[in-house]
């Protein structure tokens, strides 16, 4: 009997020989609007094995506008974004906290979390029953990104060097909210909890690794511990060169990591992390997916697979079809992944 998408992903994460490499396509409105036929083709030929549960919090009274439209958008924390391009998210124009001394002014959106979660649990459970896909919780805690939204990136990076001046306090306010969210979702009918934060610059970690370990790693460990206590897998996304913290993320229990593999040395990454964590994609967005030459996409997939593929598991074929990506290259990426998978399995037989 063929394995269901959920089983394929589970086996992949547990290195228990899934029948094929699981797939996951990330779609940004930018691509959906511009290339509906390509999106339809990708979804039809290479359906994702992962899905996000379809429970959404009630609309927050603080939210104003559409994050993916040109103009201004206010999110549930009160951060105001300015956007110049339809289909992508803009940038915070003016951080709420000009001075870190004002950290007490920040009010996390607790009003969004239902006081009684029994109805959401039912909706989430119904969704889980209705699909054979691997289901991710519809949350994405991001303590560092939220910190930057509240303080501005430049201030946030400087705050890290003077943590006792208010950074630790503000981080706790943010983290307490996310912990509450993870706690609610970890007890619901989902397969995995996910969180994110972009920790890499183009060539190294954004901040000194020892500071990351002291102030940020414990936050993610809290999320992992909660998820694991309820038998959930843990998925994380982080952009940039994060090779310095790969082992840390493995240690705290991240099962699948979506990182910019092409910013890092794949030989080195394979030596240190292959077989210990699942590489949740990805194919490079900066140079590969925006290429008009589909062969560039095929070569990129071969490069990733030749370094990180393991028939036991540990790899999810994933990329983001987003701003600047070329439709033919996007299709070529999944075609090549499929081709590699078939070739490998023939070899094993």
């Amino acid at each position: 009997m063929p394995q269901t998408p959920r089983e394929i992903v589970r086996r992949c994460l547990e290195f228990d020989f899934p029948e094929r490499i699981p797939r996951d396509l990330w779609l940004l409105p930018w691509a959906v609007t511009r290339y509906p036929e390509t999106v339809e083709q990708l979804n039809r030929r290479f359906p994702s094995d992962l899905a996000t549960t379809e429970y959404f919090y009630p609309p927050s009274p603080r939210v104003k506008g559409d994050p993916y439209k040109v103009g201004y958008f206010t999110d549930e924390w009160g951060c105001v974004f300015r956007n110049l391009q339809d289909g992508i998210i803009g940038e915070v124009e003016k951080p709420i906290l000009e001075s870190i001394a004002d950290w007490k002014l920040v009010q996390p959106p607790y009003e969004q979390l239902p006081a009684d979660f029994s109805e959401p649990y039912e909706i989430i459970a119904r969704y889980y029953e209705s699909t054979d896909k691997f289901v991710l919780a519809n949350i994405c805690p991001r303590p560092w990104e939220r910190y930057q939204f509240l303080r501005g990136t430049e201030n946030a990076l400087i705050d890290v060097m003077m943590p006792d001046e208010g950074m630790v306090d503000l981080l706790k306010v943010i983290h307490d909210f996310y912990l509450k969210e993870v706690e609610l979702w970890a007890t619901s009918e989902v397969d995995a909890i996910r969180f994110m934060d972009d920790w890499g610059a183009q060539q190294r970690l954004l901040i000194p690794p020892e500071l990351w370990r002291e102030y940020f790693k414990p936050l993610y460990k809290d999320y992992c511990d909660l998820a694991k206590a309820h038998g959930k897998f843990v998925f994380m996304h982080t952009d940039g060169d994060v090779s310095d913290i790969y082992e840390d993320l493995i240690e705290i229990g991240v099962d699948a990591l979506n990182s910019q593999l092409f910013c890092m040395d794949l030989d080195d990454l394979a030596r240190r992390a292959k077989g210990k964590i699942t590489f949740w994609g990805e194919i490079d967005r900066q140079y590969v997916l925006c290429s008009k030459d589909p062969q560039v996409g095929r070569d990129a997939v071969r490069k990733v697979c030749s370094h990180l593929y393991d028939p036991a598991g540990g790899m999810i074929a994933q990329f983001e079809f987003g701003a600047g990506a070329h439709p033919e290259t996007a299709i070529a990426v999944f075609e090549e992944w499929h081709k590699w998978d078939e070739e490998e399995r023939k070899t094993v037989v």
Partner: protein, 223 residues
Amino acid sequence: MDDLLKQLALCIERGKASKEAPYPPDMKGQDGASELTQQALAASISPNDILHKALMVGMNNIGEKFSRGEAFIPELLISAKAMKAAMEHLKPYFDSGVAQHKGTIVLGTVAGDLHDIGKNIVRMVLEGAGWQVIDLGVDASTEKFVQAVDQDPTRIVGLSALLTTTMVNMEDTVKQIKQKYPQAQIYIGGAPVSKEFNDKIGADGYFPDPHSFAKHLAAQASK
């Protein structure tokens, strides 16, 4: 004199802006870049010597560490803050012409792009290397860049972009400036940008980090 300038250079490198600044913890209570610059001026050390023998030395040291992977972005930023604190005291000398910058660079994030952290880091490093920087901000149109060069055609131009959808706007800006000022030096930077892209759009150079850009400019200026 040497000891004072050495201590000032160390304050810049370590990011000690002033006596009351809490960072770095091991220099708590000590005079910072602000106080030491005032002391240097009071000791009749020339503003140019303060800039070249202390401030630029400190920024160069942290820049070298950054290039070698021994320092990170927050350390660069905090050094730049210390540099700024020192420069406040030197500003009148630059305004009156007693002290001189190496030249002027026009920096901006290109049209359609609102990301500024990369550009801001480059600005701080270049200021720390002795350049005057005119920052056109984010979403800077081609016209804005051309107008800035119109005011002084010797100005160097630096274009920044973070998005693959906006880096294409660099091409138009380069083309328009070069059409009017074929000798203009235009450099590009940003996460999706590469040497190949630089060559394709006819810009004069791409640098993966701000310090290597500053070193290139210094070498060009000394020719």
